[in-house]
């Protein structure tokens, strides 16, 4: 006998909502994130035309790359119904290790660091599933431990004294597109393909929507989740790599300021924070929106003192416009 979930008796209400929801509204929701982005861009461009100049767009793309990498993997975990607060910390740790490894062992060091980052993520996933501790707590703990570790390893910024060539290419452009962005985009596409073509992807969505039913369909939920967190680990490593390339140094706090923006990017893209609904296409758009928000106001010459206010207002507005309520009738 399954003891009462308080919600048991109420299922029909949900089904009513579903019956009532308008499909036109659905369609509108689909494209809301894109609309918001376009609206934002055109507004900014109207004030400062140079904002859409090829050069500026190029810079924006470059700026978005790190957040994009973080948000991409974050999307998978959020689709699973969890969250990873430790990504930025792992990225910072990775940046430090890479900065140390490049001079010491050369490019091969990068591979090692990425492997380590992946392992860290996997371990967090393992603890989350095996000990059945909510991912938000496990990764909150991770946030503390990994950044603490990074700070103890490197009390300070570590310049890449040798072997920078191994990462430097990320800062250049090919075909007028910054390599860092191309790489991030490629990573996103690979993952998107995986989500749509591999059983893994099918399982991710199923778990996010109905973990029990998925478990009772013989899906090894634990494994899928661990894989998801391994991905966040790997992508955190990549983010760290990108930061090293950009600043030609590693620092224990280098990526910290990117944690909340990267999560916000996922949510503003319209992926439901309760899991199961959304996708990487949305995250791409969300990331662009967040990036524009981060730097846009300064470029249109808004008094910096008003910048945070504008940022806050627009974030809420964007979220209000893009979040799809029909899927989850409880908002927390």
């Amino acid at each position: 006998m399954t003891p009462a979930s308080p919600t048991d008796g109420i299922a029909p209400i949900a089904s009513n909502d579903r019956e009532l929801r308008s499909y036109a509204g659905q369609a509108a929701r689909r494209f809301a994130p894109l609309a918001v982005l376009i609206g934002l861009l055109s507004a900014l461009a109207a004030i400062e035309p140079s904002f859409l100049s090829p050069y500026a767009v190029n810079v924006l793309a470059d700026e978005s790359s790190v957040i994009l990498i973080l948000a991409t993997a974050q999307t998978v975990v959020i689709l699973l119904g969890g969250i990873d607060l430790s990504m930025a910390a792992i990225a910072s740790l990775a940046s430090v290790l890479i900065a140390l490894a490049l001079p010491a062992v050369g490019p091969s060091g990068i591979v090692g660091v990425l492997a380590l980052a992946t392992l860290i993520g996997a371990v967090q996933g393992f603890v989350h599933t095996r000990a059945q501790i909510p991912s938000v707590i496990v990764t909150l703990a991770g946030l503390g431990m990994w950044s603490g570790l990074a700070l103890t390893i490197a009390k300070t910024t570590i310049p890449v004294t040798a072997g920078y060539f191994a990462v430097g290419w990320l800062t250049r452009s090919s075909f007028g597109v910054p390599n860092s962005f191309s790489v991030a985009l490629a990573a996103l596409m690979v993952l998107a393909a995986a989500l749509h073509l591999l059983p893994f992807g099918r399982h991710v969505y199923a778990i996010g929507m109905a973990e029990r039913a998925t478990l009772l369909s013989g899906v090894r939920v634990g494994r899928v989740k661990i894989l998801g967190f391994a991905l966040t680990g790997l992508f955190s490593g990549l983010a760290g790599l990108a930061m090293v390339a950009r600043t030609s140094s590693g620092s224990p706090t280098i990526a910290d300021s990117l944690l909340l923006p990267s999560i916000a990017a996922v949510v503003i893209g319209g992926t439901s924070i309760t899991g199961g609904v959304g996708g990487l296409g949305r995250t791409l758009i969300g990331t662009m929106t967040i990036t524009v928000l981060r730097v846009g106001f300064a470029t249109i010459g808004l008094d910096p003192a008003y910048e945070p206010i504008a940022y806050g207002v627009v974030v809420i507005a964007a979220a209000a416009l893009t979040i799809d309520h029909s899927k989850a009738h409880i908002v927390k």
Partner: protein
């Protein structure tokens, strides 16, 4: 913030569930820590140092109480730091200060808390009316209020010259730091609200099963807004008191408090999924963190290892609380 499936473990034995509802591990961790540091450093157990810890934990306690109600309902409040900043500036500029002629004294304190409550109201209304997850709303409110604080602060942070307020922030009454007294009062208030008012009980109910609460026709939204207002109110109070202590209105007055508070609440055993935990648990969690930090300064541990130790502590307490409850069908997000 996170959706937590409250589907209990299949065939869960009452024992397990009871455990789930009041885990003793946090208190245990607290005691172990005290003993540990006490043995490691004889000077630690002195009454003087305990008062220092009390003083150190005053502000976090106030913040934790407010946040607890929001989290009990299953929402989250990220705006603490912004709220503190705004109220700090409001406070500093409304009591006798170096910036303007105002000298509202206690009313300045009231004003600051009102500002906090106002920001809380904003968060609450935005979540309930626009149905935007509190995570995003409070993220936005954080940034906005921080911006407001920045504007207020201008280029010279206002110094607080009101002796009474400074005394409140720095002074002690019979060896007990005033701020700690305030904090204790707030904790008691929180406890009373939680266990003797509909606000508190409904917060529990909403966290336990929001859709059931709605089905039964409870005014869920009203109490959600109320929780944010209360959190904002205490955030404002904390901001004001902190600046009364350091003697000026400061934009970074709440620096790092957001993660610290949430961590404390979680360590205390309040579930981020909502419906489980309470004010006292959060208080325990906060004290644990305070003692941890103080103790590590005391024994001179590298400040950066401290972050790691905190992380480890979160994990251990969580482990202790959930390990006995593991079940094949237990859904944990």
């Amino acid at each position: 913030m996170m959706p937590a499936d409250h589907q209990g473990p299949v065939g869960s034995t009452p024992a397990a569930t009871a455990q789930e509802l009041r885990p003793w591990t946090p208190l245990l961790a607290l005691i172990v820590l005290c003993l540990g540091f006490g043995l490691a450093e004889p000077g630690f157990a002195t009454s003087e140092n305990l008062w220092t810890i009390a003083d150190r934990s005053a502000i976090p306690l106030i913040l934790a109480v407010g946040t607890t109600f929001v989290i009990l309902q299953g929402s989250i409040d990220l705006s603490i730091e912004g709220v503190m900043a705004t109220s700090s500036l409001t406070f500093a500029m409304s009591v006798f200060n170096s910036r303007n002629g105002l000298d509202l004294g206690v009313f300045g304190l009231g004003l600051a808390t009102l500002v906090g409550a106002g920001l809380g109201l904003l968060s609450g209304l935005l979540t309930t009316c626009l149905r935007v997850p509190s995570f995003m709303v409070t993220l936005g409110v954080w940034s906005t209020s921080a911006g407001i604080a920045l504007l207020l602060s201008g280029d010279q942070p206002p110094l607080i010259k009101d002796p009474m307020m400074r005394a409140l922030g720095l002074g002690r009454s019979l060896a007990v730091p005033n701020l700690f007294l305030v904090a204790v009062a707030v904790v008691l208030l929180g406890y009373v609200l939680q266990s003797y008012t509909r606000f508190g009980r409904y917060s529990m109910v909403i966290g336990g099963g929001e859709d059931l609460a709605r089905l039964l026709g409870l005014p869920v939204d009203r109490y959600k807004v109320l929780a944010f207002v209360f959190a904002g109110f205490l955030g404002g109070l904390a901001g004001a008191l902190e600046s009364a202590r350091i003697g000026l209105g400061h934009v970074d007055v709440g620096g790092g408090q957001m993660f610290a508070t949430i961590t404390a609440v979680v360590i205390g055993g309040t579930s981020l999924g909502g419906g489980r935990g309470g004010v006292l648990q959060s208080a325990v969690g906060t004290l644990t963190l305070a003692i941890l930090t103080d103790g590590m300064v005391f024994v001179g541990i590298n400040p950066y290892a401290q972050k790691a130790v905190q992380g480890a502590l979160i994990l251990l307490t969580a482990l202790g609380a959930t390990w006995p409850l593991r079940h094949r069908l237990r859904i944990v997000k």
